[in-house]
Symmetry: C2
Subunit: 189 residues, 2 copies
């Protein structure tokens, strides 16, 4: 988020077709929940397009990057690395340390979201292997809870720049307004 050390999310691997929605959801979740950037393998161009389209419509700043080797990104990261895995340490046990590395040491954070088979050197390259429960569930769910804990809920109040549209919270129904004004020509149901 603006005014904080960078948080980037890297999706380690992607199988076109089979993983399209999950990979897109990893990027959209990273964006919505306070990360600054998502890094995809270069065969995930479709997910890149979707995330950039959403950023264009609902605002940023948020970057999407395609790279040839996501493993090189992990190996060469200048900052801390948290790898999300059900085999790791419990998020509630390491989150204070991770937050301190940001608040006190101003270190950028790379969050690694795995895929089917994560090579052992990723576990070794990580400063923390972190489990959002030691149960099998969803890389998207794990990423969401992890970011919400790292940011301590601040990301829910994040403001968006250069949006075309803004959703206005509503007890019932839908209200979408042009981002620059409160009224204009609202879509209201």
């Amino acid at each position: 988020m603006q005014g904080e050390p960078e948080v980037a999310v890297v999706r380690l691997a992607h199988r076109p077709g089979r993983d399209d929605r999950m990979t897109t959801h990893v990027g959209l979740t990273a964006r919505a929940l306070g990360a600054d950037r998502v890094i995809y393998p270069d065969n995930a161009d479709q997910s890149r397009q979707t995330v950039e389209d959403i950023t264009g419509r609902f605002g940023g700043p948020f970057e999407v990057e395609l790279v040839e080797s996501t493993k090189s990104v992990v190996r060469n990261w200048d900052g801390n690395v948290a790898h999300l895995t059900m085999y790791g340490e419990r998020v509630q046990d390491v989150e204070d340390e991770i937050r301190a590395s940001r608040d006190e040491d101003d270190e950028p954070l790379l969050v690694v979201v795995g895929s089917e088979k994560v090579p052992f050197d990723i576990y070794e390259a990580a400063d923390w292997n972190v489990a959002v429960t030691n149960q099998p569930h969803s890389e998207v769910a794990g990423l969401a809870v992890f970011l919400d804990h790292v940011f301590d809920g601040r990301e829910l109040d994040r403001e968006w720049e250069d949006a075309e549209s803004t959703v206005v919270p509503k007890a019932t129904g839908k209200k979408v307004v042009p981002a620059d004004g409160e009224d204009g020509n609202p879509t209201d149901e």
Copy 2:
């Protein structure tokens, strides 16, 4: 979770093939993050099987139910209904009220996870339409953050019954042991 009013998650609609992984992840996330039950439309039998398989291996209690009409489940729910939608009220603004309805009034909670087009009567049937950010991202991410907020993180310490296997949190690598003992024949990497 055990000793608390029930939390059930209903997946409103499912498109076999296209939605298989998302629907499965909704169920696995519900289970891992403290819900007692997931309710699927009856064309989601494949997701039911996967979630039941995981529950058999890693423990419960957790139930999976197939129903003919998920909308009837919402309409006839005896308790409170929270519908997750990017158009709703901000989770940080309504979570205290939702928690109070459980802690003080002992009300069961039905969490509605949408699909492509949610009919307007679902918005009306809900006690709360809740947005985990008013941004488009992922129904799985929204469910995860919502449950973590409703349970206030307690679900991360949930204990599991009748598991075959338990993952032991580890700083590096993987350790899985038979659930009834700490050693036995651990799979350790």
